[in-house]
């Protein structure tokens, strides 16, 4: 009976553990940095976490359908290149909208290439997206050979410091992402995502358009990567042909920290957003705990591994107790 209930609880609240970790990280961070919850500090944190949050949301969708996307970082670089080479600091609203749409289109096109290779050509996702990441990086380098470019100043200022009702803009966007996911999950397509990730053959036999669902998941990830690029370029007011590269692996770690199963079929975007926050808070903690320079990388990695191990440790302890 108890094993049964645990399973159910897990299925119902896949974010439970992630939430606990988040609370712990917040508490520790607050102890070390009492000004953490000041609007200014909260804002500076949120605006730096947000690009990865958006990216991890896309990664989550792909992972839920049983895939993985190692090219999301390169898509960020590519979309960022498109944005910063076409936008001037004083661009008009119409132009901004047009270029943002264009960047979104580029992101989706990149996702479509991934989706085509994985879903229609049935290539293995890990190596396929590793291969396409070269294509996207190459294109980014082509469009923006060296760091530079610019973003509309007004918009960048808004992104950096707007705080409606005293809460940072980033929190609203994160909540918007979660609402968007909740809605998506309540549609038929949302069910498809989970079904395809759970057992593609069974989903296919049930009439689910498996190939298209897979394809769509990569396109969505590409789109979200483009939005991530928008957030990132607004944060930095500039572009760099390899600015997204390092985000890929972080996005995967965040997804797993957030309770999404790496093999697909279970999980959600809210968890990944929590996962990104946890990763960011860990860095703050290390900084404010005055960890000696040469220990910082190790401590960071050890905390992350411990967090990743948490579900396993809980399971191990439970089975010990039961035995």
């Amino acid at each position: 009976m108890s094993r049964f209930d645990f399973r159910r609880l897990n299925a119902r609240h896949p974010y439970l553990l992630a939430l606990l970790l988040l609370a712990l990280a917040l508490a520790v961070n607050y102890l070390l940095q009492p000004n953490l919850f000041q609007s200014r500090v909260l804002n500076s944190n949120m605006r730096t976490f947000l690009p990865l949050m958006i990216l991890a949301a896309g990664q989550t969708i792909v992972i839920i359908t049983g895939g993985i996307d190692l090219s999301v970082g390169a898509i960020v670089s590519l979309a960022a290149a498109v944005l910063v080479t076409n936008l001037s600091p004083d661009a008009a609203a119409g132009q901004i909208a047009l270029i943002v749409l264009a960047a979104a289109g580029v992101g989706m096109a990149a996702g479509a290439l991934n989706g085509f290779c994985v879903a229609f050509l049935r290539l293995q996702p890990i190596v396929t997206t590793y291969a396409t990441s070269f294509i996207f990086s190459g294109l980014a380098l082509w469009i923006l050979p060296r760091p530079g470019g610019s973003m509309p100043q007004q918009l960048a200022r808004t992104y950096r410091s707007a705080a409606p009702l005293g809460l940072p803009l980033g929190i609203y966007i994160a909540i918007l992402l979660i609402i968007g996911w909740t809605f998506l999950r309540s549609t038929r397509f949302g069910t498809y995502l989970v079904a395809v990730g759970g057992r593609p053959d069974a989903a296919y036999a049930s009439g689910v358009p498996v190939t298209w669902v897979r394809f769509a998941s990569y396109v969505l990830a590409g789109l979200l990567a483009a939005f991530s690029a928008l957030a990132l370029t607004l944060l930095t007011s500039s572009g760099d042909p390899r600015m997204g590269d390092a985000m890929t692996l972080d996005s995967i770690v965040a997804v797993v920290l957030g309770g999404t199963r790496l093999s697909g079929g279970q999980g959600g975007v809210a968890g990944s957003i929590i996962g990104v926050a946890i990763l960011g808070l860990i860095r703050n903690i290390i900084s404010f705990a005055n960890v000696p320079t040469w220990w910082q990388t190790l401590v960071d990695a050890l905390i992350i591994i411990t967090a990743l191990a948490a579900p396993g440790l809980v399971r191990l302890l439970r089975s010990r107790r039961q035995a």
Partner: protein, 349 residues
């Protein structure tokens, strides 16, 4: 062990604290360091130099222990580093920026709060930020000029650069292009990236040596130079191409090794001193104590750079002297140098 108690530093009203620090010329000041890349000994030495110089200031009661943010990270992560330093209420930030533009808005927020920001190693254009750097372009021109002359102004040249798109690399390549413009008889027959990585440099050079016959010279930079020279040594063509080098202990040791077999071997090593970080710290201290930067000495594309001199260039003429200094040093040791406090004061009005 760190004397910077978080309760003091990260207290309630950080903004005010730093504003105060802005005008007050008394210590002790808290200096933050932001370094985005730990995968290089060069950066290690930079940090060590910083600590060494800061120890002097601590003895004088001028500063507290450095607050060092040191991790391999991207622009986003370095922004977080800067923000954390700001949130701790440091008085000055010494930063080795990983991106020429991306950090600017955040650094401008810092300077607006009255925090003194000194960028080292890499020039950036953020408002209120001062760069303390060597002139990367000049640095590259020195060795490029040497290579061009060693080639007798003609022949086939191969260029192995760092990361395409990386600002330091771009500045250096601009310098190389400038030099080559004066030598119309030099043909660039190959150009590839070695990612500032010795092994990659070695592989790329091996490929060139095998696929392009009769290369007359290879120009490269930094850690890749050792890889290139090893590739030449391994391939051992009948006539060795001219190669540019660097001034790290490992390279000088290899240079010495090659000399025992080929006494006529010659190359060049231009020092890129990790001490710029410490130089930056000295400038920051001057500014914290109320010094105003002398506008007349500012240079660079945005007019906010203070160029520190390249300490020296190793050539065949002075090789013996510099080799003796590093003979027993670890391979990654860089012949170093940073400015004195008097030099820093000289930058002020």
């Amino acid at each position: 062990a760190a004397p910077v108690a978080p309760s003091e530093e990260a207290g309630s009203d950080t903004a005010e604290t730093s504003e105060e620090a802005g005008d007050a010329a008394s210590g002790p000041f808290t200096i933050g360091v932001s370094n985005n890349f730990v995968g290089s000994e060069w950066r290690t030495q930079m940090i060590q130099d910083l600590e060494e110089v800061n120890a002097e200031f601590m003895d004088q009661g001028l500063t507290n222990e450095l607050v060092i943010e040191n991790a391999d990270t991207d622009a986003q992560g370095q922004i977080q580093q800067i923000q954390n330093l700001m949130n701790r209420g440091v008085d000055a930030i010494i930063i080795n920026p990983g991106d020429v533009n991306a950090l600017n808005p955040t650094l401008e927020e810092a300077t607006a709060e009255g925090i003194i920001v000194i960028a080292v190693d890499q020039e950036i254009c953020a408002e209120g930020v001062y760069n303390v750097v060597i002139d990367q372009k000049e640095w590259a021109k020195t060795s490029a000029q040497w290579v061009a002359e060693a080639m007798g102004g003609q022949g086939d040249l191969v260029l192995i650069e760092g990361f395409v798109g990386h600002p330091a690399n771009e500045a250096r390549m601009a310098g190389v292009d400038e030099v080559l413009a004066d030598y119309p008889d030099i043909t660039v027959v190959g150009r590839d990236t070695g990612g500032w990585d010795q092994a990659t440099g070695q592989q790329v050079a091996s490929d060139f040596l095998a696929s392009l016959p009769n290369i007359d010279a290879i120009w490269t930079q930094d850690g890749m130079a050792e890889g290139v020279l090893r590739a030449v040594q391994t391939a051992n063509p009948d006539e060795w191409p001219v190669v540019s080098g660097e001034a790290r202990a490992g390279y000088l040791q290899l240079w010495n090794e090659v000399l025992t077999e080929r006494p006529d071997f010659t190359t060049v090593g231009v020092v890129n001193p990790p001490g710029v970080g410490a130089s930056g710290l000295r400038v920051a201290i001057e500014m914290l104590q109320g010094g105003q930067v002398d506008e007349a000495q500012l240079a660079g594309s945005c007019g906010n750079s203070l160029y520190v001199p390249v300490p020296y260039v190793v050539t065949s003429d002075n090789f013996a002297e510099y080799y003796a200094e590093v003979e027993d040093k670890p391979a990654s040791y860089v012949n170093d140098g940073f400015i004195t406090q008097e030099d820093a004061a000289a930058f002020m009005q």
